[in-house]
């Protein structure tokens, strides 16, 4: 059986009643999960909301990403395809890209627009696109005096001088995994919850600055770096759908509470298919050289003539170390209920502190467990 989610929100399918249910019903149902559901969640991995695939139910629930079509059976659900079907067109040009941006921006006329200013290429491209259409965006970013942040600082200062309103928050006050105890209640554990506090800080700042729409540079890694080899007139692969490219969970569960829409500018409408068409045949481009060269006429020299790969290890590693005590507290609640070894408070705390030394697989396993205990804590906290 096929179900369509034509909305722009995550919706929930219940395999027991074989229908879409409300978020409140999903929350109520989720509160009675079993060990099997825990193991289903762990085997699904961290990306059920952002990667096509076949997944197991979590207490009979499936989170259906926005604008997707899923096939369900008794044991699994499969995210089959994107509802908007954009195609590779070898005739696309930069003029088409500009026209598409112009068209998309019409939707936001009269709204106050902001951009997350990271100091990297992707958000800079979003800012440049807005400036091109005489939109003066509010810039909100995180900055640090640290050595590791020296390149981003230069770009952030460059853009601060190009707009009327901007604010740079302290990077060190907003590490990943901060304030996990306040994570909003949500029906199925997700990795996005790890970064809730950072998004909350941005959402509050956006609200205070009157920002209605906040664009991020999310999606740049996929559409500007990944190899593209799609035949002309073929539909772009599922992983280039908005739901895979954007942080829609954070929009729905964090930003929405503060009255701001959080949108990935590069993932909107036909932009991914135009860029992929322009890049078609290109190999993996980890330094985003195509984008740096193609948009060199508008980018600062620091971005057009230089490339680097920024790590966020410090943000993650320090964040986990700082959060390790609260991770132990949160884990205690889930461990008391499920008695699953991996959720033991001390095990979770030690893993948080030793995260930097873990290999990729061990990191994913720990982050999945953390998503689970955070989810359960939020549920209990709200007395569900």
């Amino acid at each position: 059986m096929i179900f369509k989610n034509e909305s722009n929100r995550i919706i929930y399918y219940n395999v027991h009643s074989n229908k879409i249910i409300s978020e409140l019903e999903a929350l109520n149902q989720a509160s009675s999960i079993t060990h099997e559901d825990y193991y289903n969640f762990i085997s699904n991995g961290l990306n059920t909301l952002r990667r096509p695939g076949t997944y197991k139910y979590f207490n009979g629930l499936a989170a259906v990403p926005p604008q997707t079509l899923i096939k369900v059976d008794k044991a699994n659900y499969h995210i089959l395809e994107n509802i908007p079907q954009h195609k590779i067109n070898p005739n696309y040009s930069l003029t088409d890209l500009k026209n598409e941006i112009k068209f998309l921006l019409q939707k936001y006329e009269g709204k106050k627009i902001g951009v997350e200013l990271s100091g990297g290429l992707d958000s800079s491209l979003v800012i440049e696109a807005l400036l091109e259409f005489k939109i003066d965006p509010v810039l909100i970013g995180f900055s640090s005096d640290s050595f590791e942040f020296r390149t981003e600082r230069i770009v952030q200062n460059y853009y601060k001088n190009k707009v009327s309103e901007s604010i740079l928050l302290k990077y060190e006050d907003n590490f990943a995994f901060d304030n996990l105890k306040e994570t909003p209640i949500h029906p199925i554990p997700v990795s996005e919850s790890h970064f809730f506090q950072r998004h909350k800080t941005v959402a509050l700042t956006a609200k205070n600055m009157g920002v209605d729409i906040l664009f991020s540079g999310e999606a740049g890694d996929q559409i500007l770096s990944f190899p593209v080899d799609v035949s002309p007139n073929e539909t772009i692969p599922c992983e280039y759908g908005y739901w895979c490219l954007a942080e829609h969970w954070s929009d729905q569960y964090v930003f929405e509470n503060y009255g701001t829409q959080y949108i990935s500018g590069l993932a909107l409408g036909n932009i991914p298919s135009i860029i992929l068409s322009l890049r078609n045949g290109h190999k993996w481009d980890p330094m985003k050289l195509w984008a740096r060269n193609t948009f060199k006429h508008c980018l600062p020299r620091e971005l057009s003539h230089f490339a680097y790969t920024a790590f966020h290890n410090s943000w993650i590693g320090t964040g986990l170390t700082q959060a390790s005590d609260s991770i132990a507290e949160i884990s205690e609640i889930a461990y008391a209920k499920y008695k699953i070894e991996a959720l033991k408070p001390n095990t979770m705390k030690n893993s948080a502190n030793a995260y930097s030394t873990f290999n990729e697989e061990k990191r994913k396993y720990f982050l999945s467990n953390l998503a689970f205990v955070t989810w359960y804590f939020a549920l209990i906290n709200k007395n569900l």
């Binding site: 590791e148 330094m287 680097y308 790969t309 790590f311 290890n313 930097s356």
Partner: protein, 186 residues
């Protein structure tokens, strides 16, 4: 002349430095101060590390073809350096100071080395890669500095070269994440 220059860093709580014997990262509570007066070459390279946008950079290799016999020699050097490995830190450095030069610049050397076994993009053999480039480059002794640095939050380490206002390894785009703690000049 081979010289190793310590660049200790104090983060307010701990001092960080690289062991001259083992090349390992050391963290201590004793305040370490740099007592050495650095050369102009080293100071210039450190300035560029702090201001990476001022560096010249080419994302593409300068392809080099070598006569077969020379190519074989470089492959042998490469094998020997990997044989020594990271555990023979000082011996590896010493080995890189001797031997024939096959490339005018270290940038050319990296272009060639990137085609060798163990040097595919993203490989973690940065130390051997830098030593081999320095060993076979004519320009390194006069203009180049090998840096060994660390990402302090993870203890991960990395080696890279700054030479004549360039970061000559066209494939290395991660070096800016590492704080330099030791410099090596020939």
């Amino acid at each position: 002349m081979l010289r190793l220059h310590k660049i200790p860093y104090n983060d307010g709580q701990f001092s960080w430095e690289i062991s001259l014997i083992k090349g390992s990262l050391m963290k201590s509570e004793h305040f370490q101060k740099n007592k050495e007066l650095f050369s102009e070459k080293l100071n210039d390279a450190l300035f560029l590390i702090n201001n990476p946008y001022k560096l010249k950079w080419s994302p593409k290799p300068n392809f080099n073809s070598l006569e077969l016999k020379n190519s074989k020699k470089i492959i042998d050097y490469n094998k020997f350096l990997f044989g020594l490995g990271n555990k023979n830190f000082f011996l590896s450095i010493l080995y890189s100071t001797i031997g024939n030069k096959y490339f005018d610049t270290t940038e050319d050397a990296f272009s060639y080395i990137s085609t060798l076994e163990h040097h595919e993009y993203g490989s973690e053999n940065c130390f051997q890669r830098c030593l081999l480039a320095a060993k076979v480059s004519r320009s390194f002794k006069k203009f180049g500095v090998i840096f060994i640095g660390a990402e302090l939050s993870t203890f991960n380490m990395h080696a890279w070269i700054i030479e004549n206002k360039t970061q000559p390894d066209f494939e290395d785009r991660v070096w800016i994440n590492y704080r330099p703690l030791l410099a090596i000049t020939f």
